[in-house]
């Protein structure tokens, strides 16, 4: 199987190079057979990488421990569903996973894209093949998943226990899908620049891809938060770790793009900015991969340090230089069709939304790289942790939350005073009601008050939009309000799906605000003893240690500490937290014992229990109890975000939205360069 894997990777390299050379040589322009060949090369590339993936999967499933990767990340007693996740758990496998997914997306882009964009597709194939070839080269020359050991160990090292969680089966692939699918919009952007087809065509061609990429990134990041929360046992979900930051950066710029692209579609503005954003997003996705794999910045998430970092750095620099040089060459062709007419307009609101998103991205990037910069300048490495990121990003995030409400309500081109009054009266009132209620109930945390009040405002804007739309349909078509609301989605799924996403984002902010009121305490309890912990809402939980039981499972010894929970004296039930000592197939301990937290959640707060350890090998246990207010809203926001994202991608009953024509927009494009 390793021979087949090696052969497939070499075949992928040759096929990919063929596609790249033909695509960028431009000879396909006069030779339709070559254009078809470039197109077909993406399918052949996919076939080669599917065969390589099949070969690795067979090795994993058959426990072929002579393959170094299989021996490093699996063991005989690893449950089968985690064997699948071992495919992307290590550096080498994840590179193959990246390449095969990219090849799949490339083939889908070729297959699904309308023939209207046929003159872009060979360039698109060239770019996607080039990126895929890069990954194949890294595998072949630096990090080969089919590398064999000089001997065959009787068992493998097994999978890190913290990766043996359902979240890790879906979180990394989702994040990878987000990172990888960014290549498709990037490829279309480069194709548009190369072919000088710089109208809104390429934007329309990538609309679904950008939404898909953003959705995958959002799901991947949220699942990562959930995994950190339920698996790592620290009671939080975001630590501003460099690798977390690396996933957040392309999400920010992609979000900026999703907003600014509407201005290009509607008004023919921001062409240069949008191309810059797409190029930047792609580069940030490669930067994230570089950070994870180079070891240049220490992170709990990093793969083992290896030479692949140099490959990624080289690719990052080469891609940046080539892309921005191309953008510079086409700069004169990218003049806006119309100009901004007022600072009080949706265009201006979207511009400031972009400024905030890119500003946050810059500050996160700056903070992530500052330790390296400091070492280069001062000779001493410094740490830039959560205190820095929170200080800089919380105000920007709140500004962004305010714009989430302002953007959809303010008129295109220029808003009048009456327009502003009519649109903002009720949303502002809803924000003020929330503010008054919070102050009345004694909340004094400034950022939490602002976040929750702005959430009230944003919710008011969305509710008003739905109400007005439904009321208009009710009046015109005589539909019930429920039916009218349903049909609103049918008429313009992108718009109303976007509103759902806005509600999801405000739910995230509600959860973030709750973090300001977190309470945690440690306690050592013998069976029968109790500890009290007071919630910020005023009630008291009493946790009584029932005892510790132990049992052996497939690949681990499990120690379960059970506590009885009562709230203000009223019994609520039991809560368990576990310690898991993983063992190999010979029963020998592997890794450090890992934690499974116990969580009792409701809409108000989570009661979060961690069994930290035993005192002198007895049932006397050390626990950490945490009350995390409003955390469940983060997961509800994640679900709503998926619903909203899928809604925006679903084809509208009314068909595609046409740009609003203007006299300027109908002027011919200036002569090409």
């Amino acid at each position: 199987m390793t021979l087949l894997g090696h052969f497939s990777l070499w075949a992928a390299l040759l096929v990919g190079l063929w596609g790249v050379v033909i695509a960028f040589s431009g000879k396909w322009r006069t030779r339709p057979d070559l254009a078809a060949s470039v197109n077909r090369s993406t399918y052949a590339l996919l076939a080669c990488l599917l065969v390589a993936s099949f070969a690795l999967m067979v090795g994993l499933l058959k426990h072929d421990f002579n393959i170094e990767y299989v021996a490093s990340y699996t063991s005989r007693n690893l449950p089968e569903y985690f064997i699948f996740s071992a495919f992307w758990a290590g550096q080498k496998g994840s590179l193959l996973f990246w390449a095969v997914v990219l090849a799949t997306f490339s083939a889908l882009a070729q297959f699904l894209t309308s023939r209207r964009y046929a003159d872009l597709l060979p360039y698109v194939a060239g770019v996607t093949s080039l990126v895929t070839v890069f990954f194949v080269i890294v595998m072949l020359f630096s990090s080969n998943p089919f590398e064999r050991l000089p001997f065959t160990p009787p068992d493998g090292n097994g999978l890190n226990p913290q990766l043996q969680n359902v979240g890790m089966i879906i979180h990394p692939p989702m994040l990878y899908l987000g990172y990888i699918s960014i290549t498709i919009p990037f490829a279309f952007a480069i194709a548009a620049l190369l072919s000088k087809r710089l109208d809104t065509g390429w934007i329309l061609a990538i609309r679904k891809w950008t939404l898909l990429s953003w959705l995958f990134l959002s799901i991947g990041i949220t699942l990562g938060m959930w995994w950190a929360y339920v698996e790592l046992g620290w009671g939080g979900y975001w630590a501003w770790d460099p690798v977390e930051n690396a996933s957040f950066l392309p999400w920010l710029t992609m979000t900026a793009f999703l907003h600014s692209v509407m201005i290009q579609e509607k008004r023919g503005m921001l062409k240069r900015w949008n191309l810059g954003l797409i190029i930047g997003t792609f580069l940030l996705s490669i930067f994230g991969t570089f950070i994870t794999r180079s070891g240049v910045i220490s992170s709990v998430h990093s793969f083992t340090q290896s030479s692949v970092g140099y490959y990624f750095l080289g690719f990052l620099v080469a891609s940046a230089v080539a892309s921005f040089a191309l953008l510079y060459l086409r700069w004169p062709l990218l003049k806006p069709e119309v100009k901004l007419e007022s600072m009080l307009s949706r265009e201006a609101a979207f511009l400031f939304n972009n400024l905030a998103l890119v500003g946050i991205a810059f500050s996160v990037l700056w903070g992530t790289l500052f330790p390296i910069l400091s070492e280069a300048v001062q000779g001493t490495k410094v740490t830039v942790g959560p205190p820095f990121f929170n200080k800089v990003n919380i105000p920007l995030g709140l500004f962004l939350l305010a714009l989430t409400g302002i953007g959809p309500l303010i008129a295109w081109r220029k808003a009048s005073a009456s327009n502003l009054q009519r649109q903002f009266r009720w949303p502002v009132a809803s924000g003020l009601v929330v503010l008054a209620a919070l102050l009345l109930f004694g909340m004094r945390n400034f950022y939490a008050i602002v976040a929750l009040s702005l959430s009230g405002f944003v919710l008011g804007t969305v509710a008003q939009e739905f109400y007005r739309g439904a009321r208009a349909r009710h009046r015109i078509h005589g539909e019930s309000y429920l039916a009218a609301t349903y049909h609103l989605f049918g008429r313009n799924r992108r718009r109303y799906g976007g509103y759902i996403v806005h509600v999801a984002i405000l739910l995230y902010f509600v959860a973030f605000a709750g973090a300001a009121f977190r309470v945690d305490q440690e306690a050592t309890l013998k069976p029968g003893e109790s500890a009290d912990i007071r919630s910020p809402y005023g009630h008291t939980y009493t946790l009584t240690h029932v005892g510790v039981s132990q049992y052996e499972a497939l690949n681990r010894v499990v120690s379960v500490a059970t506590l009885e929970v009562a709230r203000d004296g009223k019994k609520l039930g039991l809560i368990n937290s576990e310690k898991r000592q993983h063992v190999d197939s010979f029963g020998r301990p592997q890794f450090q014992p890992s934690t499974e937290v116990g969580i009792r959640y409701n809409l108000q707060e989570d009661l979060y229990v961690v069994y930290a350890g035993a005192v002198q090998g007895t049932e006397e246990a050390v626990f950490r109890f945490t009350i995390n207010p409003l955390v469940v809203w983060l997961w509800l926001g994640g679900v709503l975000l998926i619903i909203g994202g899928i809604t925006t991608m679903w084809p509208s009953e009314a068909g595609a939205i046409r740009p609003i024509p203007s006299a300027a927009a109908e002027r011919p494009e200036p002569a090409g360069v």
Binding site: L232, G235, D241, P242, S299, L340, E341, M343, L351, F352, L355, G359, F362, W366, S374, V377, T380, V382, T383, V384, G385, P387, F388, K391, L396, A411, K414, N419, G469, I476, E522, A523, L525, K526, P527, G528, E529, A531, I533, V548, V557, S559, K579, Q581, P589, Q592, P593, V610, A612, G613, A614, V615, Q616, G617, T618, E619, V622, A654, I660, S662
Partner: protein, 201 residues
């Protein structure tokens, strides 16, 4: 946080030492009552759980927690000492650093003195955010300066572009009262109305 015996468990478990004490007394033994440690049953497989020392009051002290959140664990995890020692409880370094902090605190040192002591021993990297001095100021100020400059440049750019343009608020436009100079024909305005109608409904 209080720590007490719950009624039903405490009663049942409390009977055992009482009986032992009564028997011992009857035999004239002078042994002390069993310590609380001996009351907790031994685990079947103690090696499967991390060994921990019992919690002390200062473990829950907010002052100590905040101090530890400002200092980085030196195990290489990138987390602060408090988060590291309470995350999966597998790090051996952060509990040791925690004990160092408690020792310094018990010696009467202030938070700043404890931080200075850590910086002297482990370098500037032990601080979770760099001291706002020298080149580090760039770390704090650059994002803000760039944002403000970008905002000002954007605003100036937008204002420059729209200077001299005659623009009528959308809400006030209609084809009958169209002022001269507006860049829209009646057909375009009608198209716009249709578009807005379709978008809204």
């Amino acid at each position: 946080m209080t720590r007490r015996f719950s009624a039903h468990h405490g009663l049942r478990r409390g009977l055992v030492p009482l009986v032992v004490l009564a028997l011992a007394g009857a035999l004239g033994a002078q042994e002390a009552a069993p310590s609380p440690q001996e009351e907790a049953g031994r685990l079947y497989n103690p090696g499967a759980v991390q060994e921990r020392t019992p919690t002390v009051d200062l473990d829950n002290d907010e002052y100590i927690k905040e101090l530890e959140k400002g200092l980085r664990c030196t195990c290489g995890c990138n987390l602060d000492i408090y988060t590291c020692r309470t995350t999966d409880f597998s790090c051996a370094t952060s509990p040791a650093l925690h004990r160092e902090i408690l020792a310094l605190h018990n010696d009467g040192k202030t938070a700043q003195e404890i931080m200075d002591d850590f910086v002297a021993r482990y370098g500037d990297q032990v601080l979770m955010s760099p001291k706002p001095e020298g080149f580090n100021l760039a770390g704090y100020l650059v994002p803000g300066i760039v944002m403000v400059l970008a905002g000002l440049l954007l605003t100036a750019h937008l204002l420059r572009k729209r200077r001299g343009r005659v623009v009528v608020p959308v809400a006030e436009v209609n084809s009958a009262t169209l002022p001269s100079g507006i860049e829209a024909s009646p057909e375009e305005l009608e198209h716009l109305r249709q578009e807005l109608l379709r978008e809204d409904l």
